[in-house]
């Protein structure tokens, strides 16, 4: 019990923005609005909203690895793809009965994490760091894309799941919750919305606790000065590896949810554009704080969607411009930049009043 309470105390701390009644009150209001939202909308629109939420996990993975850990990984989409395909292969072979899709979710994320253990061990214990880490991770995801793209022939299958080359794998079952009487199938509408929202809130709170723990302290210490961190007795390679694996698992969650949402996945989910987009979201939205990443990613995604109406090429150009502007004007991301600006404005206002 006391252990649980001390965990709750870690919800706030120097590593996360937001504390006290004001913040948690706002959190409760936002959560209530999110819970009530499907009541005021239609299934199709709600399904589209889930699509946004799906991507937040991969954005959080970059927040952890890059924002907190200081290692820029270009290859989060590799774990996204591995978990997505993993979910497809598992459920196409074993079906969705007895809650197996949920098992497949966990297993697929586990496979992505395991892959990250191997890749991460090679990188961190081989002392690959900085820009080389970005290059290696990018190479890995592009290699996976190439590999999956040439699996069109019928000889490429795992059990009864055809890999299908560039056309991608499809028709895997959606997530299904076993229920006495009739199972609840989470199609891309209200059911999946609540499932993903619940998962998102859980992951967000769990990451807050993790980042404000002594583990989180070491992670940011390594970002600030790896040599100093090691000279305080921390085996930094071990911490970097664990962070990398946590990040991979988060990207894997996105991959599984994406695959279950649309019931398909293609190699281009691991391609260059796919790899670059999450980086842009978190660079623009904010990567150094969990809340900024969640809010920023959702805002950027919504803006992107709104622009795509005028043509996706313009949307991409706009993203590029936004990225450059952010890096120049608000290097910590728009959310933190906006909050700082509000703070300055308020300070000036109170100064004038006082």
């Amino acid at each position: 019990m006391t252990g649980f309470l001390s965990l709750l105390r870690r919800l706030e701390g120097p590593q996360t923005v937001g504390r006290g009644r004001g913040f948690w009150g706002l959190f409760a209001v936002v959560l209530a609005v999110a819970l009530a939202y499907p009541l005021f909308s239609d299934g199709y629109t709600v399904g589209n909203t889930v699509y946004f939420f799906v991507w937040v996990f991969i954005a959080l993975s970059l927040c952890v690895i890059w924002g907190y850990g200081g290692s820029l990984s270009f290859g989060q989409t590799a774990f996204f793809g591995i978990a997505g395909y993993g979910y497809g292969v598992l459920t196409l072979n074993f079906g969705s009965a007895y809650g197996f899709t949920l098992v497949a979710l966990v297993l697929a994320v586990g496979i992505a994490a395991l892959f990250a253990v191997l890749l991460g061990y090679f990188m961190f214990f081989g002392r690959i760091a900085g820009v080389f880490l970005g290059i290696v991770t990018l190479a890995v995801t592009l290699m996976l894309e190439r590999f999956m793209a040439q699996t069109a022939g019928p000889e490429w299958h795992i059990g009864s799941a055809r890999l299908n080359g560039f056309n991608g794998m499809s028709a895997m079952p959606p997530l299904t919750i076993p229920w006495p009487g009739e199972s609840i199938v989470l199609f891309a509408d209200v059911g999946l919305y609540y499932f993903v929202l619940g998962l998102l809130v859980f992951v967000y709170l769990a990451l807050r606790i993790l980042m404000n723990s002594s583990f989180g302290n070491v992670i940011v210490a390594i970002r600030e000065n790896p040599e100093r961190a090691e000279m305080l007795g921390y085996d930094i390679r071990k911490y970097q590896l664990i962070t990398f694996v946590i990040g991979a698992a988060l990207a894997g969650v996105s991959g599984v949810l994406y695959t279950a949402w649309g019931q398909y996945i293609t190699p281009s989910s691991m391609g260059m554009t796919a790899a670059a987009l999450p980086l842009i979201w978190v660079a623009v939205g904010g990567r150094s704080d969990l809340t900024s990443t969640v809010v920023g990613t959702l805002v950027v995604l919504a803006a992107f969607q709104a622009l795509t109406i005028y043509g996706s090429q313009y949307a991409l150009v706009f993203m590029g411009v936004l990225l450059v502007l952010t890096v120049l004007i608000a290097p910590n991301g728009l959310v933190l930049g906006f909050m700082n600006w509000l703070g300055r404005l308020a300070a000036r206002f109170t100064q004038r009043a006082g």
Binding site: N217, A221, R228, E230, M231, I236
Partner: protein, 238 residues
């Protein structure tokens, strides 16, 4: 048994023989100063002791154990700790968090908080605790990093130019800090240019020149040594 023993240590950087057959022994409880001109190889010797560099040949014994092949973090666990020449504080984090990261492996909860407070008082940084470490003055950064280094309750504290950038008063305060730590049983090896500091704290002095041990003795013996004056004391600190 001696606390630290360097046996015939050699280190080359390309053609540069930076550490040349160095033998050095530290007795438990002493304050030992390492002096020598810039580029003599003092900081490199620290990095060899800490495992950041590996010697081409020779051995490093700590409390009788051969630690030559150990990883850095493992050497820290044996009881070594360091303040680097260029202050290595976590610039983006608060002073308090810097100390928390250093102390958290030995203390937790309320005990951790009170240990941080105690250390802040010892360092004279109470009023700076909420500041971002990157905003501290150079001298304050030195103290903060000394604080982080002693958080680990090391048996041997390595200080690389601890008073660089400090005023004479601050230098004296740092000397007193070191003496208090030493009174509590900590062995100290300090690289220092400031002879006032060396006079204040050193029980023994080793002079390093061109990677070699050039002279060794009490501060009086070193100051009186004309050869030392010729290579070092005379020129830079007349």
């Amino acid at each position: 048994m001696s606390l630290l023993e360097l046996r015939e240590l050699n280190k080359h950087f390309g053609g540069l023989h930076v550490t040349n057959a160095v033998n050095l022994t530290l007795e438990p409880g002493e304050i030992h100063c390492l002096i020598g001109p810039n580029g003599a190889g003092k900081s490199t010797l620290f990095r060899l002791i800490l495992g950041e560099h590996h010697p081409g040949s020779g051995e490093i014994l700590f409390a009788g154990e051969n630690i030559t092949a150990l990883k850095s973090f493992a050497r820290i666990h044996r009881g070594l700790s360091v303040k680097f020449q260029v202050p290595g504080v976590f610039k983006g984090l608060s002073v308090r968090q810097n100390l928390e990261i250093a102390l958290q492996s030995r203390h937790r909860g309320a005990e951790l908080e009170s240990e941080i407070d105690r250390l802040l008082t010892f360092l004279g940084l109470e009023s700076e605790q909420k500041q971002t470490a990157g905003n501290l003055s150079h001298g304050q950064k030195q103290w903060l990093e000394i604080g982080m280094a002693i958080s680990l309750k090391p048996r041997l504290l390595l200080l690389d130019e601890p008073t660089a950038g400090m005023s004479p008063e601050e230098t004296h305060m740092t000397g007193e800090m070191v003496q208090r730590l030493n009174a509590d049983g900590m062995t100290v090896l300090a690289i220092e240019h400031d002879m006032a500091f060396v006079r204040q704290v050193a029980q023994r002095v080793t002079v390093l020149h061109l990677g070699q041990v050039f002279a060794q003795g009490s501060i009086q013996e070193i100051v009186a040594d004309e050869r030392v004056a010729a290579i070092y004391l005379g020129q830079a600190h007349a």
